[in-house]
Symmetry: C2
Subunit: 253 residues, 2 copies
Amino acid sequence: MPSIVLLGTGNVATHLFHAFQKAKDVEIAQVYGRRKKGLKHFQALARITNDTSQILDADIYILAISDTSITEVSQSLRSKKGLVVHTSGSVALDAIATARRGVFYPLQTFTKGKKVDFSEVPLCIEARNPDDFILLKTLGTSISKKVHQISSLQRKKVHLSAVLVNNFTNHLFHLAQEICVENNIPFDLLHPLISETVHKIRHLPPVDAQTGPARRQDAETMQLHLEQFENPLHKKIYQLLSESIKTTYEKEL
Amino acid sequence: MPSIVLLGTGNVATHLFHAFQKAKDVEIAQVYGRRKKGLKHFQALARITNDTSQILDADIYILAISDTSITEVSQSLRSKKGLVVHTSGSVALDAIATARRGVFYPLQTFTKGKKVDFSEVPLCIEARNPDDFILLKTLGTSISKKVHQISSLQRKKVHLSAVLVNNFTNHLFHLAQEICVENNIPFDLLHPLISETVHKIRHLPPVDAQTGPARRQDAETMQLHLEQFENPLHKKIYQLLSESIKTTYEKEL
């Protein structure tokens, strides 16, 4: 049964903590947080500390902290024998200052207060040496059915893809909601369409699921749409995404 | 029990046909299609014709045809007493040539061969006169729980929003899939993230659900992402969407 110290008290740390709490084969030895305020949530549930010199020994140290703090906090673990991993999509494996190092990147968007079924969250893992990889795999399978070996290069690509499908998609939802609000249209009118958009690509590659004026090169409808934008940035986004769709299907002609 | 003639044999027409078939209170009098080939699917299920002079009398004529054919086909219905409606998100009500006219716009993306639960499809309806509106509402509620009165101006906005949340979102999924394929990453690794992105906005406005480097103005991560694009158009899309996210949250500061 691997023991872990969880470093961090934010969104990812909190979701990981509760996932490991439910896991039978993992012992949470301690939670570390820089500020006492952040530790409050964990106080009654685990041993806590806000002093790096008081961090207990464990098999794995999980850095669920901001990207920019990873190197610094890992330096305070230099005397430890355990494996140190971070949970970031974009930070290099070698940002960790200890000899035994790895990555334990949960590919999901976490919202404060909203439960996530961790068994369905893909875990992208990587380790510097094969034994540590096996240890990480054991840790990963204790909370998720989806543990994948992903190299640092692949992780960079996964993270970029995640920005496209999550951050940018969500922003398009926001732009649509703005349009709806301005025109007294209930935004939830769009929910079934959004659900179907996502449901479709479980059965059909997105390239085949594409519809709309840009795909069929319906210049008249696109012009009607462009005229409706007041914000030049939004207009430009419409133009470029339409152009990109157009180019995608030209290639196939 | 209103009787209908369905004009068109494409995706929308086919999905509407099967929805009306199941409805208890609607009689499908006939299906019209320009080409015999398109009518084949309906041959055993309804009366069919490919001759506009043979179109039967009905309470409602539903033009489920391409945007550019609406005016022309509606002209062939000038002698009819019934209500003529089109199913387009972007065409004006007055594109219909008959005196009694309306719109019956199902806000959904339809895929050939993929069943849709029509009871959940929002129907945006509009009619030139109040009695026809009531008739359309009766027709709409026979197949859907979600019938909304949407004006022509609102419908233009709904259609634009639909392009953002469906067409553009799907294209972002496609770009992400391309990145995954190029790097030997299974695309379904992203499915849980995509599902959660959509699930989130049922409880949280998209503006509050936004995460990622652009929202937190993490210039370093954005630079790392930009360097990964080879296609200048995709790079520009990343820049503009990030810029638009940044602007959204600057406003709030």
